[in-house]
Every structure is written in C-alpha cells, then in structure tokens.
Symmetry: C2
C-alpha cells in the first residue's frame, strides 16, 4: 500500500493541488482552481469602491475555495483512499498578508469592514506601500540598524512592515480592529489545522526576522511610528516555526472541505520558490536552483553567513534546516520575451510561424538558435523591469546596443535571453566573491519546458552545467514533501526534508553542458556587459533615472492639464 | 513666349528629367528612366563574372539611355517646342567614376575590357576600396598633409583617389589602358557637349581639390604608390570649372538622342545634394539645407573658411559662387525608419493600419505624434549605419536606452526620429561653435512630404524654424537652374545662380515652428544624448567597436568552418 501527500501551491491567479506518491515523488494527480476574484486592482468585489493605482488585493475566501475544489478533485482523479493521504503542505506567494480577528476571521469577511480596502488581503504585488518602505529604509539607515545588509540594503515595498504600516497610516481603525496581521500562507494553515503558526521562511525573508536576532526591536518600530512600537507583540507572534514542522492535524471543518481525514498532518506554511528547492533535488550547498518564469528567482544554500551585496535576503534554516538559505532575483525574464513578442516581432514572422505550424516563440527560438554567439554584434542590459539583484534598483531600464540596419528580430531576441543570462552570472559571481560557492544550476519553472535555447545559453554564459528538475510542479511537490515530513517517518513519511528529497525529488536526464567555444565568446561579451552594468547601474551615468524622472514630470504635467500635448 | 530648361538628376537606380519654366521655376513635366543594369553588385552584365563583396558598379550606357528616354518624354508630355529649351543641366551621385579613353569611350564599352570589373563605373556606394582609403588616410596623417581636416580628418573609401588606386592595385592593366579617370557627372556632360570638363564640386568634395591649393602634390601620390605620382596630369585635369558655367553646346549626336536643338547650352556638371541648395531658395549663409531621405545631407554656406570637425568637406564656391560650401551628413535617417517598420512592428499594428486604410508609416506617425516629448523615457543614438558627422566613424552602432515592459512600438519609433534630430543638432552646434552660423533649416527630399512629425521634431529639437522647399525634385530643378545660368541672361536665362534662385526657387507656405515647451524637454534629452554620444563615440567605451570586431572574428571563423555552430 502506498502513502500519498498533497501539496497546494497558491499562485497569483489560481491555486493548484498536486497529489504525490510519498515513495518516489510521482505526481499522481493535479487540479487547478482559479480565484473567483482574482487580483483585485480596480474595485472591491461587490462594490463601487475604486482602488488607487499600485493596489493589488485578494479575497481570502478564494484560498479556502482552492482547498474545497482542488483537494476533492485530486482525490477523485486519482481514486486514492483519503486514509492513504498522510500529510498536506502548502506554499504561497509572499509577502501576501491580511488583517484578521483573534479567531482567524479575516476583517473583510465582517460586514462592518467588507467595504474597506485595507481589510482585504494585500497581495505580494501590492505596491502602494512605497512611501512607507522609503521611510522605513531611510530610518533604518539613519539609526544604523544592522538588518538592512541582509536584504541587499533595501526593504521592498512588497514586504510585511511597509504593508502593515500602510494600513496604520491610511486606516488606523482597520489596524486597531485587527487582532493579528498575518501572512496568507500562515493563515491558510491556521484554517486547515486550527493552529496559528508563523513559518520562519516568510518571517525571515519578508518580515525582517532572523533566528539569532528575532524581529527588529520595539525602538525601531517606535521610531517609525509610536503607534507601531509593539506591533510584533500586539499583531504578530514571536513564536516562529521552522518549515517542515507539523502545524497540527486537519480540523473536522477542513476535513469536510477537502474530503481528507480529520487529523491528517498539516505542515507549517512555506513560500513558493523556497518550497521548490528540495523538490528540485537540492538540499546541499553550491547547487543553485533557479525558478525560471516571468522572472528568475535564485535559491542557494550556504554553510556560512555572508553578506552578499544585492541579494533579496538570507535566512538561517530558511530553505533547508542547517543551512543559510540565500535568495536573489531578476525582475524580467519570461516577461521580457513576452514583451518582445508582443511589441517587436513583425507580421512576416507571424505568417512564417503560422505556415510552419509553430508558435512565434518556437520560431524565434529556432532562428535565434541558428546564430553563433557574438555574431549579431548586439548586447543588452536586462533591466526592462528594473534590477533586483545585485543592484536593487527599480529605476533602471532596458538597454540595447550594437544595432545596425541588418539587425534581425531573432538577433534582438537572442540578445535579450543572453542579457538575462549575464544577469544571472553577475549574481553567481557575487555569491562566489562572498564565499558562497555555486557549482551547478538546477532549473525549474516554465522556461526549461519551453525554451531549450534559453537553457543552453545559461550554461554557455555561466560555465555551469544546467540541470532540470523532473517535477512538473516543483513548488507544489515541495509543499507536498513538507507534508510528508510533517507526517513523519513513523506515519509513512520522512523525518527530514533531506530524506524526503532523496526519495521524492529527481532530475530529468537532460543536462545542458557549456560549449567551451561559446563560453569563450560569452566571457568577452560578459566583460562588456559588466562595464555597461556598472556604468549605468552604479552611478557613473544615471541617465536611466533621469529619463524616468523626466517621464514622471511630463506625465504629472500633462495629467494636470487634463490631456497630452503631442507634437 | 516662355523659355524652359531641363535638369537631369542621375540617382542610384534611375535618372529623371524635369522640364522647368525659366520664369518661375514651375515643374512642367517630369520623366523617369530606370537603369537597365541598375546597381551591379553580383555579376557583370552578360557574363558569369562574379563581383566580390562591397562592390557596386554601373553601366555608363544606362546614363546615355536616361538622356535618350527622359528628355524626349518631357518634351512630348509638355508639348514644348525644343527651340524654347535654352539650357540643360545635370546632377549626379558622387563620387561615381569610370575609366575612359581619350575620346571619352568608357573602357567597358570596348570588347577587350568588357569582362573586366575594373573597366566599369564604380558607383558612389562601391566600398571595396577601403584598404586603399585606410592607407591613404594613414599616409596623409603621417606625412602631415593639411587637407585631411577639410574632410573631417578622413577620406572616405567612396571617394575618387581610393577608387582610382584600387584600379591600379588590382588591375594595373586597366589603369594603364585608361586615358582618363573621370566622374560620371563630368562624363555625361562630355557626352552631351563634346567637351571634357571637370566641375569644381565633385573635384572639391570628392577628389581633394581646392581652389587655392589644387590637388595634393605629386609627392603625396608618389608616397602612396610610385606609379600614381602623376595621376592628376596623366589621368585627370587641372582645369577645374565652376558649376553653373557653360560646358559647351549640345552636339549633333546628343541633339539626335534628346530631340533638343544642337548648340543648346549645357551646364557644367553638379552633385545632387549641392544642386538642390539653390533650388531650395538658399544662396546665402546661415540657412541650412537638409536633404532628408534615406540619409540626411546638410548643406550650408559660410563667408569664412573654418575647419569644422567631422564635416564631409567644404569647398570654396562649391555650392554657390562666393561662399564656402560646407557639407555634413548623417548615415541613417529614412533607412532607420524603414528598418524599424520591417523589423520591429508587430502584426497587430499592420492589422490596425489596414483597417484604417493607412500605411504603417502613417499609423506610426499618428501614434508617435500623440506622445508628448519625454514621456516614453526612451533615448536612442542614431548610429544604426555608423556616424558620418561629426564623429566620422562607420564602426559605431545603434543604441536604445530606457525601455520598460510598457514600452510601445510608437515610442521606439519616435525615439529613433528624435535621435536623428539630436544628431542634426550636434552638426548645427559644431558649425556654430566654429564660426559658421545656422539660423534656420530648409528641408527637402522625401521626408517633408511623408512625415510632418519628423519635421516638427526637428524644429523642436534644434530650436530652428524648419521650412520646406517647394520644388518636388530639388536636385533636378537645381540642375535645370544651372542650365539657365549656362544659357545666360542674354539667351533668356540668368547670369548668376543667385538670380536664377530668386526667380525659380520657392518655399512652401508650411513652416514648422519650435514649440517652446517641447524645446525645453528636448534640451534636457539632448544633454543626455550628448553624454552618451561622447561616451560611446569618443573612446571612453569602445564597446561598439569591440562588438563589431567580435562579430567579424566569429563570421570569419564560422565561414572558414563552412557553417555556423549555433547554440
């Protein structure tokens, strides 16, 4: 008799459950449920209340609906006896947070708060707390707090305290009414298990918590806003639990929603990218996992604590117990190619793709794949969406250099791919230069399935072998693996995530091996990339920022005039 | 009874005649004849002889065919009595040169030389004499000859002596068999009038001749190649005639070709861009004529001799007698937008243009015209085809900076137009900084008809009013005006080109006046352009050249392997 675990991955638009065989990690069944209210960025559901720009909310009920639909679906599809499901884990976008009452009820479920935007879930990409983030960063730097370097010297507006502070700033009554402010990841585990926990991964990466120092001291929060002095004790919890631990057993109510047995082990919550790491076979240092999707997320384990400039953060035990878990990122990868296809590909290419019966991405991959590195004469800086690591600067913009009248679309396309690979190499070298080794890359996410050229270019540019995780849904499988650890070996699971990974995580046979001749060419191009990277990114010529400022000025002026005054 | 003149404009693909009313410059009739053998860049006509890369030849018989077709055509169309045509002028691409016998017979007309590529006309865009140009420039600099600064410190491979030297280098027997090496412009006048003349415009701009110093001394040519020591006396002529003078009267034979009367005044030859200047009403300093087509050609008169860095050249009396005629250029203007439309405009835009019943250029102009300057956040360097003035560097390449995931095609399109306008402003400021004033711009060429946005942007970026020449075919009308001067006032024409221009040249009513708010924004963008211009163009970061060298290396390597080795 086999044992099974279920991992539920909460994404931006939908949630998906995967039912996995504990013995070998086989993905037996998968189900997706789209959030009814999706990303709420125009008006509150069931109301005329309009949201301001940069807001992005969600409805916590949508998360519960995911449980109610996807878990019964995978059980039905696989015909597995619920009694054979020994554990459940989840992973979530982060920081995605909400205000709730002491019993876990979201404020936005309550009629008196339902029409208040601040009562809803603030999704990770809610960017309206930028003023709070700016003030927080300035204050932390001014007062000399030592946590900033852990996060590339900048706390993002996406993270927990800027979002919490925005509630206090703009809706002190909501802040006051909230007994708890909590990550949605932890909230769904509370709803499944009846136990409020706070996982160390979101706390560490998104809420300035560290194993050694805990949260920033009350003095810091007081300096930000006296009303926030005791935010940790009043609205959060200092009891931070390591991912993989058992949060509790499934409640009767949640058993009713899901069709699973009450008491089924429920793991502490995790973050999507972080959950993917063991599912990509990585439980040791020097093997970088890159989640290659609309953006790149780089996850790496290290044995020692290092301040690596420009990382998103690092957390002791944040990915795998016993290691420092480092995270870095690139803001513009798949999005980059999507932009290119939407904006820059001529009709003739669409016709050609159609006549060949392939997608435009496939056609571009084919044409770009026929080019030898260096032969286009093009070089790009991959900053169409700013730069996360290592410059941590959202005001940087894209650059293409080397164009001639003979430049073809596929050459630009390839240059954009190469630019993201150079960006990854900058990150790898930053790790290496600060004592965190990187020897190989394991790719996961959408790109490995869709674009072999992309994978080969990453191998050729970085000089690392690039391998591919076998799991189709690495975050969900990782969440399921944590469910198996929460159940424990005695119950048919595993005692550690390392054991779980050994059995359940696999690589595909394909390996992208660096081509030495291409590597040699890319070494020269990378040197040029670095020069431009530093010239435009480190203050020698802040033209990108000045162009952005000018744009903002013009937009402000034309919008105050009520119309543009085009030439 | 009216008098008429005919101007014949010899372009790259065809020749066109315009019959013009001497009284007011009215274009009464126009006819075009395409060259049968066009641009010869693959194999010699009627043979299997293949040409090497960078070669571009023409067949001189095609020029005679232009006379034989277009002049009868305009006479027939206008029903003008040939006796009322008092003069003929021509303008030509330059340097476009050929080897001929003492009687004017092109070597390529002779059976013994017909299969020899070097016996044909070398068209202006024949670029295979680059090695000779490089050696010539190095030698001139080494020996300290003072003519280089007149030409932006660089003699182009397109010009007369590199082309002549290439014949000597590669085909000394052709060089020996040639009694004369002559500009095609002067050769067609010879064929019309029976008189060999050499016009001061091509001599001055393309053959290192100056009114004061004549040609470089024999010592210089001897230093290049002892066999070339006496090239001027052996193959050319020191009798240089000012444009607008009468070369002679139409021969009986040419009268037979054209239907004009024998003895009709034939003007000395001229260059296309230079002939256009008086036809654009400009016979005085400070009014810059820009021929706006696939490239920009900037023509300006000055009262004093100035070394303006990076100009194509200047010649005393080279455009209008009594003035120094300055020429500058930008290599990539209309070509730039054509590249963009072919390479970067998505299918959705083609569909939209189709549904609106307009061209894609019109759609882009409409969308780009609705944008306020500065609002795209984009900036480009207009070096897709290198930079002629003021950097004189063919190895520079295009750059686009400021792109984001929200960047739209029309924003890029507008940025490319703006970049060419910044490039023109660099040229204007170089003139001004060296004592050659520029107060207004008169545009001619294809762009003023096709793109009002382009014209307005030039006004807004330069701060100059931009006016438009009324003549539809300014070079041909200018050539016709020179025909009227060759005829002289006594014969119903004019005594000077200034008189001719006063009567025959007009501006359109439309004037593009700088918008002060846009000018203020463009001043800021221009400052950014200049910083990047100097950083990439003056040696701070030669990345563009290194990318080109890498490309050449890779191409050489892959072609020696017989194929690419794409990733």
């Amino acid at each position: 008799m086999s044992n099974y675990v279920i991992g539920v991955d909460f994404g931006t638009e939908s949630g998906r459950a995967v039912l996995v065989d504990v013995a070998d990690g086989r993905e037996v069944a998968m189900a997706v449920h789209s959030y009814t209210n999706g990303v709420i960025d125009e008006r509150l559901p069931g109301s005329d209340i309009e949201l301001e720009p940069d807001w992005a909310l969600q409805d916590p009920n949508d998360y519960l609906e995911v449980f109610k639909h996807t878990i019964p679906d995978v059980l039905a599809e696989s015909k597995i006896d619920p009694a054979d499901v020994i554990g459940v884990g989840i992973d979530f976008t982060a920081c995605t947070m909400l205000p709730v009452k002491a019993d876990g009820t979201p404020l936005c479920f309550l009629p008196e708060w339902r029409n208040h935007p601040h009562a809803w879930v603030k999704l990770w990409k809610h960017h309206a707390a930028q003023p709070e983030a700016n003030k927080l960063n300035a204050m932390a730097a001014e007062l000399g707090y030592d946590f900033l370097p852990r996060y590339g010297n900048k706390i993002s507006s996406e993270w927990f305290f800027p979002k919490a502070w925005q509630i206090l700033d703009e809706a002190p009554e909501v802040y006051a009414a909230a007994d708890r402010l909590i990550e949605a990841a932890d909230w769904v585990i509370w709803m499944l298990s009846g136990v409020e926990t706070r996982n160390n991964t979101t706390a560490g990466y998104k809420a300035i918590w560290s194993k050694e120092q805990g949260f920033p001291p009350a003095d810091f929060f007081k300096a930000l806003d006296p009303r926030m002095e005791n935010i940790v004790d009043e609205k959060m919890s200092r009891a931070i639990v390591e991912v993989g631990k058992r949060a509790g057993g499934l409640t009767e109510e949640a058993a009713g929603w899901t069709g699973l047995l009450p008491g089924t082990a429920v793991a502490v919550a995790n973050v999507d990218a972080h959950a993917a790491v063991p599912a990509a076979t990585v439980t040791e240092p020097a093997r970088m996992v890159i989640i290659m999707g609309t953006s790149n997320c780089h996850m790496l384990l290290g044995t020692q604590e290092s301040i690596v400039p420009g990382m998103c953060g690092y957390v002791a035990d944040g990915i795998i117990p016993g290691y420092f878990g480092y995270e870095a990122g690139q803001s513009c990868v798949g999005d980059h190619f999507a932009w290119f296809v939407d904006t820059c590909v001529p009709a003739a290419y669409e016709d050609e793709a159609k006549s060949l019966g392939i997608s435009i991405h496939e056609l571009l991959e084919k044409k770009a794949g026929a080019l030898t590195p260096g032969v286009s004469g093009l070089l790009a800086l991959d900053w169409w969406n700013g730069n996360r690591s290592v410059l941590v600067d959202v005001d940087l913009t894209g650059l293409l250099i080397g164009a001639t009248l003979a430049t073809k679309p596929e050459e630009i396309y390839r240059a954009l791919i190469e630019a993201t690979a150079y960006g990854t190499r900058v990150i790898i070298e930053a790790f290496r230069n600060n004592g965190v080794p990187v020897d190989e890359i394991v790719g996961t996410g959408g790109m490995p399935d869709h674009n072999k050229l992309f994978m080969q270019i990453y191998a050729d540019v970085t000089g690392c072998e690039v391998k591919v995780a076998a799991a189709r849904q690495t975050p969900a499988v990782g969440a399921a693996m944590h469910g198996a650890v929460a159940a424990g070996k005695a119950a048919g699971g595993y005692d550690t995530i390392v054991d779980a990974a050994q059995a359940m995580a696999h690589l595909r046979d394909e390996v992208y091996v660096p081509n030495p001749a291409h590597k040699a060419t890319y070494d020269r191009l990378y040197a040029e990339y670095l020069t431009l990277h530093d010239y435009f990114g480190r203050g020698d010529n802040d033209v990108m920022k000045r162009l952005k400022m000018l744009k903002a000025e013009i937009l402000a002026r034309t919008s105050s005039q009520g119309m543009g005054d085009g030439g």
